[in-house]
């Protein structure tokens, strides 16, 4: 069964359909590629 990590679920919730890379399940691992939206803060992601 495939389960989603909490950070992915949060990204879908607060920044739906945006473009990003996630190289680890950490804030440092989040590379924001979406323009003009902004990378959410660690607080917004609950990290």
């Amino acid at each position: 069964m495939i389960t989603e990590h909490a950070i992915i679920l949060k990204l879908w919730e607060i920044r739906p359909n945006t473009i990003w890379n996630l190289r680890s399940y950490t804030y440092e691992g989040l590379e924001w590629l979406d323009d003009p939206s902004t990378k959410p803060t660690a607080e917004e992601l609950g990290l």
């Binding site: 495939i2 359909n17 473009i19 996630l22």
Partner: protein, 152 residues
């Protein structure tokens, strides 16, 4: 029955083999929502002993489309940033229908590259989504592996 003796010196010498392989592994999943190929955590670097030698690349890892994302996931090998496959890479994991909650499978493929260099060369696994904003991943389950072998 007549026997013919073969002079061993007349037999052409064929030498083929591999240098010591290089292996890169990761157990950390990489996910992306981009439609252009993005570099995952799976990579390895090799320095060929001759610019005329070819490199055999073997890749294995778990490719997936995230839950209810309704997108196909494509995987490829890149030499640095150069895609060695097509726009669809070396293959795709196709989601069956919008009703699917997720799709994932262990994928493995092989490619022989001619880098034409004796300098340090990095190969990495890249993935992309076919729908922008929809999440695909590589390496959620188990260990991702890339093996490089110089053919001499």
């Amino acid at each position: 029955m007549a026997r013919t003796k073969i002079d061993p010196s007349l037999i052409p010498t064929l030498t083929i083999g591999f240098q010591a392989p290089v292996q890169g592994t990761s157990t950390t999943e990489f996910t992306t929502t981009a439609t252009s190929f993005q570099t995952t955590n799976c990579a390895a670097t090799i320095t060929p002993t001759s610019s005329s030698h070819r490199i055999k690349i073997t890749v294995s890892g778990f490719l997936r489309t995230a839950t209810s994302q309704s997108a196909n996931s494509y995987v490829t090998i890149a030499r640095s940033t150069t895609n060695l496959g097509t726009a669809q890479g070396f293959g795709a994991l196709l989601y069956a229908s919008a009703a699917d909650t997720s799709a994932g499978a262990l994928v493995s493929f092989i490619y022989i590259d001619s880098p034409a260099t004796a300098s340090s060369t990095t190969y990495n696994v890249q993935i992309r989504s076919d729908v922008g904003g929809k999440t695909v991943g590589f390496g959620q389950q188990g260990t991702q592996v890339i093996v490089l072998e110089e053919i001499v």
